[in-house]
Amino acid sequence: MSTVLEQIEQQIAKLTTQAVKKNTGSIRAVADGVAKIDGLSDVMYNEMVQFPGNVIGIALNLEEDEVGCVVLGDVSQLKEGDEVTTTGKLLSVPVGKALLGRAVDALGRPVDGKGPIDAKETYPVEKIAPGIVARKSVSQPLFTGIMAIDSMIPIGRGQRELIIGDRGTGKTTIAIDTIINQAKINKVGLASGNKDFRPVYSIYVAVGQKNSNIVRTIAALEAAGALEFTIIVAAPAADNPANQYLAPYSGAAMGEWFMENGLDALIVYDDLSKHAVAYRQISLILKRPSGREAYPGDVFYLHSRLLERSARLDGKGSLTALPIIETLAGDVSAYIPTNVISITDGQIFLETDLFNQGIRPAVSVGLSVSRVGSAAQIKATKQVGGKLKGELAQFRELAAFAQFGSDLDAKTKAQLERGARIVELFKQPAFNPIPIEVQVAVLFAMQKGFFDPVDVKKVVDAASSLKTFFTTRQDALLTEIRTKAALDKDLEAKLQAACESWKSSYSA
């Protein structure tokens, strides 16, 4: 018996005396959120390093005799000579459904005062995007609830669609509307008990935003009941540039969890212009060579590796990305906008002039495009809105010429009248997404000329009345459109009858 005890004692002794190897270095200089470190000879690129006081950093510059690290925390408590150790780990963030309804920082730590997050898993912040074999082409729709987008610039699950425009043109509003619409669809779908229903979870990444704006966004999502399906990753303007640089990657890691687990997710990067600026700041402090507009040479890779992580995986889920880019004076040919335009699968361009004319959302139909979304558009929308983009383009052309003279033939006049009505029809208030079946009904009424007798200025009122008519009195018809997702002769007849009924009751 004593031999057995001795054996156990020996085993304990072995375990307790086992030495742990650490690779260390010391801070040579620390400034502007970046530390220069002597030593750390074993450190790997992008490895997490540990500073005193539980502050962590990431090794970004591995030079011959020093290591440049960005510090993710309070720099003020670090001083020259402090010991730094390698961790052998890549930076990871908590992932999973436990984060839904919560606001977290770039490292996944809660910032909403609702207590700790019980996340069971973590994912690395930096991850190689899925390869060609693992991917599947985009074919399932993701409805934004914005009629101009769903009918003319459709978005599919797994797509990357850029939202681009000057400041104050409603870029964030489109993203928030889309998140709210996903929550509305999720609620209806989950309540229906349909086993094939796939909810879409949302992640909103705020980079370099004002804290007040983030609070307003959270309040809007909460008011619409969408927060329970949403994760907010906040790296506000007051946060250090390292956190602003990391936040989109952290959000992508959270989205990837949904995708890898057979679920669908939507991620909004608001916005990547500020993300590029934060990265430029870090790069300049790290003394990396600067290029055009002082951005470092790898600024394209900064965004391409992020957006390539959005995909639709074969046999798994999808991650749809809505990156936002802010332009200056509508200049889409600037460095960062052209980079992101070339990476994404299309863009929704918002124009200041349209916004000021009261056309909201201020989507410029001519400059906006969706390269893969049409494959994901449902047949019903194609049937009623397939020709809309062409009609609107013709209208713009004719409207430009019509300014020079009043002698117009009847056909041109009719085209102008129709175009003006379509423009009015697409006006939509903020945070008020329209279900796809209602969009189909409204577009059907427009195609069949039900808005033709209505004065152009009263089209918005008429459309609103038609929407109310359908949602309150034609629920069964809307459900049929939603489930069939295509208009057959029977459905068309029912829609025609419903529109006739509305017309008889509507008085402009």
């Binding site: 086992q18 030495a19 742990v20 650490k22 074993d42 005799d65």
Partner: protein
């Protein structure tokens, strides 16, 4: 200033590479480097020599092991540690022992950037960080 510093660092690295003889730092060669600097007075000699000193210091630290211990350590244990380090690094590692009561119990061995932690205080610190 930044350009001067860069060229001084570059020169220091060149001088450091010249200080080796058969893959080991040679005192004779270091002396030769210092004599060259004194004679030729390169631009920014202070920055050059400071950078050179840092590189030499790091190299010296790589061939020396500092064994910190809380209690008494026998010569046998030190010998075993020395032999194990020689084997691991494939070169002769000079050993020096130093008492450090802050470790509470156990040992800590430092060779250049590498630290082998087998002390109670180290384990407590790791535990505190993981909680």
């Amino acid at each position: 200033m930044a350009a001067h510093s860069k060229s001084a660092q570059h020169l220091a690295r060149q001088l450091f590479r010249l200080s080796f003889e058969q893959d080991a730092l040679s005192a004779e060669r270091v002396g030769g480097v210092l004599a060259w600097v004194e004679k030729h007075r390169p631009a920014n000699p202070v920055i050059v020599l400071k950078a050179y000193r840092r590189l030499v210091e790091a190299e010296v630290a790589r061939s020396r092991a500092l064994v910190e211990h809380a209690g008494a350590v026998s010569e046998d244990i030190l010998g075993a540690i020395g032999a194990a380090l020689n084997r691991k690094y494939g070169r002769n590692i000079g050993l020096s022992a130093q008492a450090n009561p802050a470790l509470l119990a156990g040992l800590r061995v430092r060779v250049g950037d590498d630290v082998y932690e087998s002390s109670v205080s180290g384990q407590l610190a790791a535990l505190a960080a993981s909680v």
